[in-house]
């Protein structure tokens, strides 16, 4: 039975709450919080309902024709559900966080309104059933994040916004050209209809290769593949909750998610392999992973270091895709979720240090572990997870990547993972050392006592929760419904021949 209304409702919870928030007066902070949190909880429930229904084999397709040959299509599959689940979980957490973070600052109405729109776009991206619908929400994401990036309204923020738009709008245009060209070639292709492109036969292969590169170029901008990553470190001027969401699920991840869709659901991994493009992907991913890590080493401020770490970590997804075989595929898919949880934790922590103690530079973190133990513990979890220590989520990814490399007959990839892990350690361990083992200087750059605990409970709660999740998805990776379980399901049932 088709129940198309459910994905539409899921989308609508954040899409409709945005104008509602924009209509509420600036002063009505409490009402805004209630509306926003209610919508976030509702959305999480709806996604849970979708997951349940999906496992029972229900069909949730919703679609209509926009113009002949082009349709708006929402459909539910395992990959989309995973991404929708991540985004609605992190929406809730980040909304709680942002309420605490932005307390008493101006323009909160605008912030929360566009924040909801941004989440609506990510859910749209997750549930999109064809490239047209994907593109629609992909561009909407650009538009809804711009006001968030320039939120502070000072020169640096505005300049960062300009760079951000230059990159993303150009990327969007390239993507549009690729999608339209693909339409001109084969018509509307719903995700999962891989045989459509494969059936074109070998004479279409040069054209398909070119189109793949065009589409990859368009998606690579948001996925921050080197050399298209220039906007990301600059966008760090945005408030911490925005950076957290941008890095964990919204913009960067949307790009990576798009690449996953492109490879597995539009072209099909066999065709990409046949076209010989997997090697290219693995090279691009390797360069990005190593470049991002090296750049992260040289950053003296916390948020830029995390930003370059994102550049590097997101490409693990691409690296996993490029390893043709079950383990590589699983690693790439599961890292979509893992990196999101760990990175959002790290950004929450960075925000906590900045809000409570006014710390932006890494050298000022000396002794902060004693002053803010919970935040620092969360940070430690995130950092160790990024390095790949068991039992935190990141370990699972790296383990599967390594096995995938062996399986695909590309042992040099293990060298890449090892080098990258060493670099991860080199830029995270000094921070942990400062947090826990150095003596504080006695005074902080700008201390504010925000709450009864080490900082405001609004800030602390999401931080602790996402840190806990990062451990849980690693510890319980073998349990049904875990991200690893979902990824294994997708890899073995859907994506691999």
């Amino acid at each position: 039975m088709s129940q198309g209304w459910l994905p539409v409702f899921t989308l609508a919870t954040s899409l409709l709450v945005a104008p509602l928030i924009l209509l509420l007066p600036e002063r009505a902070g409490r009402a805004r919080a209630v509306v926003n949190l209610a919508a976030a909880v509702l959305k999480l429930l709806l996604v849970a309902l979708l997951v349940l229904g999906f496992y029972q084999g229900r069909d949730y397709t919703f679609g209509f024709t926009v113009v002949e040959g082009v349709s708006f299509l929402l459909q539910v599959d395992a990959l989309g559900l995973m991404f929708a689940g991540l985004s609605s979980l992190l929406w809730l957490a980040t909304t709680v966080y942002a309420i605490g973070y932005l307390e008493d600052s101006p323009n909160r109405k605008r912030f929360f309104g566009f924040f909801s729109l941004c989440v609506a776009s990510t859910v749209g991206i997750a549930l999109a059933g064809n490239l047209f619908t994907f593109l629609l929400f992909y561009e909407l994401l650009t538009l809804s994040t711009y006001p968030l990036v320039v939120h502070r309204g000072h020169d640096k923020a505005l300049a960062a916004g300009k760079v951000y738009l230059r990159y993303t709008l150009t990327g969007g245009l390239v993507l549009l050209l690729g999608v339209v060209a693909l339409h001109a070639l084969v018509g509307d292709v719903a995700f999962g209809q891989r045989e459509r492109l494969a059936d074109l036969g070998p004479e279409a292969h040069p054209m398909l290769s070119v189109l793949f590169l065009v589409l990859l170029l368009g998606l690579g901008v948001k996925a921050a593949l080197v050399p298209l990553h220039g906007w990301l470190p600059r966008a760090m001027v945005a408030p911490a909750p925005v950076s957290a969401l941008l890095h964990a699920v919204a913009v960067v991840k949307a790009g990576a998610f798009g690449i996953v869709r492109l490879v597995y659901d539009v072209y099909g991994i066999s065709l990409v392999h046949e076209l010989g493009l997997l090697t290219l992907l693995s090279v691009v991913a390797t360069v990005t992973i190593l470049y991002g890590s090296v750049k992260a080493l040289s950053q003296q401020e916390l948020k830029p270091r995390l930003a370059y770490s994102t550049v590097s970590q997101v490409s693990y997804i691409v690296l996993g895709i490029s390893l043709f075989g079950p383990f590589g595929t699983i690693a790439g898919l599961v890292h979509l979720m893992h990196q999101g949880l760990m990175k959002v934790t790290l950004f929450y922590c960075a925000g906590n240090y900045a809000e409570e103690l006014g710390i932006h530079r890494i050298e000022d973190l000396d002794g902060a572990g004693r002053r803010m133990p919970l935040t620092s513990m969360a940070f430690t979890v995130g950092a160790l997870g990024m390095i790949g220590l068991p039992p935190i989520a990141g370990f699972i990814t790296k383990w599967y990547l390594g096995m995938g490399a062996v399986q695909a007959g590309m042992p040099w990839v293990i060298g890449v993972i090892a080098t990258s892990s060493l670099l991860n350690a080199a830029y995270f361990l000094p921070i942990l050392h400062r947090l826990w083992f150095r003596q504080g200087r006695g005074r902080w750059p700008e201390e504010r006592r925000l709450g009864r605990y080490e900082t405001s409970a609004w800030l602390l709660l999401p931080t602790a929760a996402t840190a806990l999740f990062s451990i849980l998805v690693g510890l319980l990776a073998g349990v049904p419904f875990s991200p690893l379980d979902l990824a294994t399901f997708m890899a073995t049932k859907e994506y691999l021949p």
């Binding site: 024709t65 309204g153 245009l173 339209v180």
Partner: protein, 496 residues
């Protein structure tokens, strides 16, 4: 093409010609009424403005389901030809909506804008009515005589409306516009005379059949297109546009940029498709002009100091997209032409709605800040969120980002260009997108400045904000509902 334009000889006659006369006459009548009553409030205008839309509803019902209608009126020695098909209905509806929006916006605007002289105000309503009627006449006309009458009426009333502010710069710009409009009309008239002399008839369907390639035809088409493109502000004949808008009243600008210049484009495209349907080379030259218009208009919009100037230059740039219809429709295969046909009219509708919304929103912003320069908008996002939101949504459609109507139109045009392998036009569309994003987001950059000095600012009446918002919403959201206008274009126009 004849079928697409609803001019095929097989078209059934319109049953009740009265519907036609009501649609044409009502705006005129209401305009005359407005001159007497001079509405100072919004709601009488809303109520009265619904009447032309109701009349349109009647016409829709008359044509419903069929493949278009034609009508012939004997008027003494003259024979007037009319046609109503899906395209006509779409354009009638578009002009009805935009004219209504401008009319609803006007009373509050005229009240708020202290410089609006009362003599100017008295002339506003009848001229508005006349302009709407002449637009309707152009969409419905199926012979060159009616087209000439409509064009002339439209041009003169537009000049009249532009002159209303009565200020020196408005007079200078308006008189220049008048001069150029007269030159354009003269060229058009010469072209018509040539055609009449060569083939002895003026009805479009008959001319399309009778016309044979040769020097007279080429000279006539060149004269007709030259005159029309001058009136449409097509590159390189666009220089008059920005100054005229800079000093005009906001509702007049909205109507002019949204509809008036489109009417000239509509006639020009129609004549090409009928008279020289295979002139691919000349059409490519038009494509070159389109590219130049997109780029030059975009660059000038990006460099504009004043807000209204930027909106006006963006019209020049956007008209370039429409001009791409020539190379994509003239002398191309039916698959390409089919896509381009839909894309062109969607683009026309999208730009009409978005540009009218943008002018109204810009008017609100200018009225609120009392500052016509772009820099005056510093900090606007906090102070005038609704006006800015309307402006932003209109901008999204202009740039052609989803889910706007501009996006769907661009998608279709891109698809047509790619399907036909016309790479230059793909490049034009791509460059146009980037340029329009550049000039639009330059405005937003100012709006998000936080440490702006606190200027004095006025509160704009809610109605003015609401009407801009509604138009912008239509431009933004109708992209996903494009199936309806496309069915209208195909269904009532007959399959090619």
């Amino acid at each position: 093409m004849i079928e697409r334009l609803g001019l095929s000889p097989a078209t059934a006659p319109l049953e009740h010609q009265a519907a036609l006369w009501v649609v044409l006459g009502l705006p005129l009548l209401l305009g005359a009424l407005g001159a007497v009553v001079r509405p100072a409030r919004t709601w009488p205008v809303v109520v009265a403005g619904m009447l032309p839309l109701l009349a349109l509803g009647w016409l829709f019902a008359e044509v419903a389901g069929g493949a278009g209608r034609s009508a012939v009126t004997e008027f003494g020695p003259l024979t007037l030809h009319w046609r109503i098909n899906g395209l006509t209905l779409l354009l009638l509806l578009l002009s009805g909506v935009i004219a209504l929006a401008s009319a609803i916006y006007a009373p509050a605007y005229l009240r708020e804008d202290v410089e609006a002289s009362s003599r100017g105000q008295a002339w506003f309503w009848p001229l508005l009515g006349l302009l709407s009627s002449s637009l309707m006449l152009i969409w419905l006309a199926a012979d060159l005589l009616l087209l000439y009458i409509g064009l002339e009426l439209m041009g003169l009333t537009a000049v009249g409306l532009m002159l209303l502010p009565g200020k020196a710069e408005a007079l200078v710009a308006g008189l220049r516009y008048l001069l150029l409009a007269l030159v354009g009309s003269l060229a058009f008239l010469l072209g018509v005379a040539l055609l009449l002399g060569a083939w002895g008839r003026l009805d479009l369907a008959g001319l399309a059949e009778a016309a044979e390639p040769g020097a007279p035809l080429w000279v006539a088409v060149a004269l007709l297109s030259g005159g029309l493109l001058l009136k449409a502000a097509a590159f390189p004949l666009h220089a008059w546009l920005a100054p005229v808008h800079a000093s005009a009243w906001i509702p007049v600008s909205a109507l002019h940029a949204g509809l008036v210049i489109k009417a000239s484009f509509f006639i020009a495209l129609q004549l090409w498709l009928l008279l020289v349907p295979a002139a691919a080379l000349a059409a490519w030259a038009m494509g070159g002009l389109a590219g130049a218009a997109v780029i030059w208009g975009g660059v000038m919009a990006w460099r504009s100091v004043k807000l209204k100037e930027m909106v006006a230059w963006s019209t020049v740039s956007q008209l370039g997209y429409l001009l791409l219809a020539f190379p994509l429709l003239v002398g191309t295969g039916s698959a390409v032409a089919d896509l381009a046909w839909q894309g062109t009219w969607l683009q026309l509708a999208a730009h009409g709605l978005a540009k009218a919304a943008m002018f109204l929103a810009a008017g609100n912003l200018i009225l609120a800040t009392g500052e016509s320069r772009v820099e005056g908008l510093a900090g606007a996002s906090r102070r005038f969120p609704i006006s800015l939101l309307s402006f932003g949504m209109a901008a999204i459609s202009l740039v052609g980002l989803p889910p706007s109507m501009g996006f769907t139109a661009k998608w279709l045009l891109l698809h047509a260009a790619l399907a036909g392998g016309h790479w230059p036009w793909v490049a034009v569309l791509a460059v146009g997108t980037l340029l329009s994003a550049a000039y639009v987001f330059r405005i937003f950059r100012y709006c998000f400045i936080e440490d702006a000095p606190e200027y004095e600012f006025r509160r704009v009446p809610l109605g003015m904000d609401a009407i801009a918002l509604l138009l912008a919403l239509a431009a933004l959201l109708l992209g996903l509902a494009a199936a309806w206008p496309v069915t209208l274009l195909r269904g009532a126009g007959g399959e090619p």
